[in-house]
Amino acid sequence: MKHLPAYYTFWHILGHYGLRWFAFAVLLFLMLPILVIVPLSFNAEPYFSFTPGMVSFDLDAYSLRWYADVFSDERWMLAVKNSFIVGIAAAVIATILGTVAAVGLSNPAMPFKRLITAFLLSPMIVPLIIVAAGMFFFYTRFNLVGTYFGLIIAHASLGVPFVIITVTATLAGFDRSLYYAGLSMGARPLKVYWDIVIPLIRPGVISGALFAFVTSFDEVVLVLFLAGPEQRTIPRQMFSGLREQISPSILAVATMLILISMSMLVTLEMLRRRSERMRSGAY
């Protein structure tokens, strides 16, 4: 137990412990949905609530039937496939275009930097319903509604801001003299970018790509407006499930999605540490 400073009065001490308890309560509030959803997905009954058997830890009250349901349901399997196809394609487009643009933006000679940055980041701010309505009007003209291509470019534009933010942040710690050193040794600029700049900013690029992927993977409003039945994604399937017939198979899907986000979080944390080590010159 850490000792509190001697000048602390009763109110200081109360504040100190009060703050701690309040912080833990808020953390509980944050984690509550996850804590509830995981056990409920093993419910043997078709309800969204704990049965008396579950509360008394009766093993018969738990089952894997909703997981079996999900894996035997063609619609869910199609949704999983679609989510990965669209998410990966959108992330690749957003990452390539976003990384190149971030390199340009961090160039001190970049004109209209502030305005262009604000524009490139705006897909993150404009309400999705507005984007969805506009894309529906515009993409219809090019017959892009109800196609994979339409959905992929729509999601790619949503992922762009995240790539810009993460790559720009990594580039801010990038020592430009390395670039000039490469040039002075006679390498052509593209070779310097490829051999020196890209490897150094790779952690930022990968976390940007992950952000872009998750943005698409989690997105449902654009899917509601732009996708046909063939392009249903996981969130779209969950959305209609929640609106029409609520079945615990949604909870099973949700639990698996939580596992995916956990692994994303771990990957990102590892990338962040790696990037910090690189910046401090440990390599």
Binding site: Y47, M110, R114, T117, V214
Partner: protein, 412 residues
């Protein structure tokens, strides 16, 4: 150091070198700019135009509208003009477009939907020559409403290609017969919904602030090991799918859900509370979803604050609250304004959570836009409402960019 005068040639070459560098930097950004212009900016532009530009009727009945232009708008249009309209109506009935026309006219002249549909059915049976000869009589025989000049003026209004009417509707206004602008009869719908949306966004922002500020402070001052561990509990929900979290709130808040079972089990209440599908459930779920957007910027600012300032204030005998308000709070303002603005901006335009847990009372402006897009098919009104929402958002974004800098948004 003495100034070395530059020759004109030096200046030229410096300028061209600078220009070349600016060009190189711009070329890196250009592909993404082009991409976003097509995939993102042009669609939004289309939506903005859609609120004003309304070509449907002028493509449905072009001949009638041309003929009606010559009419002085008093009394009834000339019989030939009416005959041209009757011919248009027959063509629409043949092409199965009379329903579309009925819908369009009904927005201008309420109650005229069945008038158009039934007349189109009757006219469709008549011969072309008969329509050309006595179209006006046929119309009057089909329905006596066609002898009302108001309907004909309505056709002209619905045929305007450019119109501000949808914006008037979106602001709960309408044109008076005299040509002025007046409040629409009946309840204010959209203005009230805008106010309610802003109010809910404000409540959510304040709630995230009240919950997030102390937690961010605790995390920023805790030992690094504890803080890193506890940060996982902030980041994991942040990374968890939006729909997963919304699903969880449905499970928690429904009538026989977890919260009600707990309250009844603890003897706090005998009958369950109706919490789901209300404004309350929308606010709780959105506060939960947006809380990390408040905590993360606050945390990163608070981490940079030297604790010795507060320690100094306290050790010199300042009472905790004044010390907090005069020393600590001002230093956290950058993170506070960043988090609050971000939460407010995101919640004003939120759609999914209100749609799923809001019921009828917890709906926000985005939901009514989606309703006009998907159910009532009034795309022009949806576009007008969307434009107004976009103006609000862009104003807030401009404030955010000025005070925080759009490039300073950080995650994790």
């Amino acid at each position: 150091m003495t100034d070395i005068p530059l020759t004109a040639a030096d200046r030229r070459s410096a300028r061209s070198e600078l220009g070349r560098r600016r060009m190189t930097a711009f070329l890196f950004v250009a592909p993404l700019l082009l991409f976003l212009l097509f995939t993102f900016a042009a669609p939004i532009g289309t939506m903005l135009v859609r609120g004003f530009y309304h070509p449907t009727v002028s493509t449905l009945i072009p001949d009638s509208l041309k003929a009606l232009k010559a009419w002085d708008r008093t009394g009834l249009p000339p019989a030939e003009t009416q005959a041209i309209f009757a011919a248009d109506l027959k063509r629409l009935a043949d092409e199965r477009l009379s329903g579309k026309m009925a819908e369009e006219l009904n927005r201008v002249v309420p109650g005229s939907s069945s008038l158009v549909k039934s007349t189109a059915r009757k006219i469709a049976r008549a011969e072309d020559s008969e329509i050309a000869a006595s179209g006006a009589a046929l119309l009057a025989a089909a329905d006596e409403k066609w002898t009302d000049p108001e309907v004909w003026r309505g056709i002209i209004t619905s045929g305007n290609t450019f119109t501000a009417d949808y914006f008037l509707t979106a602001m709960d206004l309408e044109r008076s017969p005299a040509g002025g602008i007046m409040p629409r009869d009946g309840a204010r719908i959209y203005v009230d919904l805008f106010i309610k949306t802003l109010k809910m966004a404000l409540i959510i922002t304040i709630a995230t602030l009240i919950l997030g500020y102390p937690l961010a402070h605790y995390l920023a001052t805790a030992p690094a090991k504890t803080a890193n561990l506890l940060m996982v509990f902030v980041l994991l929900p942040f990374w968890t799918s939006l729909l997963v979290r919304t699903t969880a709130w449905i499970a928690l808040l429904q009538t026989n859900g977890v919260v009600n079972s707990f309250l009844m089990g603890a003897g706090i209440t005998r009958s369950p509370f109706e919490m789901l599908y209300t404004e309350f459930s929308t606010i709780v779920a959105m506060t939960h979803i947006l809380l990390p957007f408040m905590i993360l910027p606050l945390y990163s600012v608070m981490k940079g604050i030297d604790p010795s300032y507060m320690r100094a204030a306290l050790s010199m005998g300042a009472r905790p609250l004044p010390a907090f308000f005069r020393v600590y709070l001002p230093m956290t303002l950058p993170g506070l304004s960043a988090g609050a603005l971000l939460v407010f901006i995101i919640s004003v335009g939120y759609y999914i959570t209100p749609a799923l847990v809001g019921g009828t009372k917890g709906q926000m402006i985005s939901n009514i836009i989606a309703f006009h897009m998907q159910q009532s098919n009034n795309w022009e009104l949806a576009a007008a409402l969307g434009t107004m929402l976009l103006v609000v958002i862009l104003l807030l974004y401009w404030v955010y960019d000025r005070f925080v800098g759009a490039g300073n948004i950080k995650f994790g």
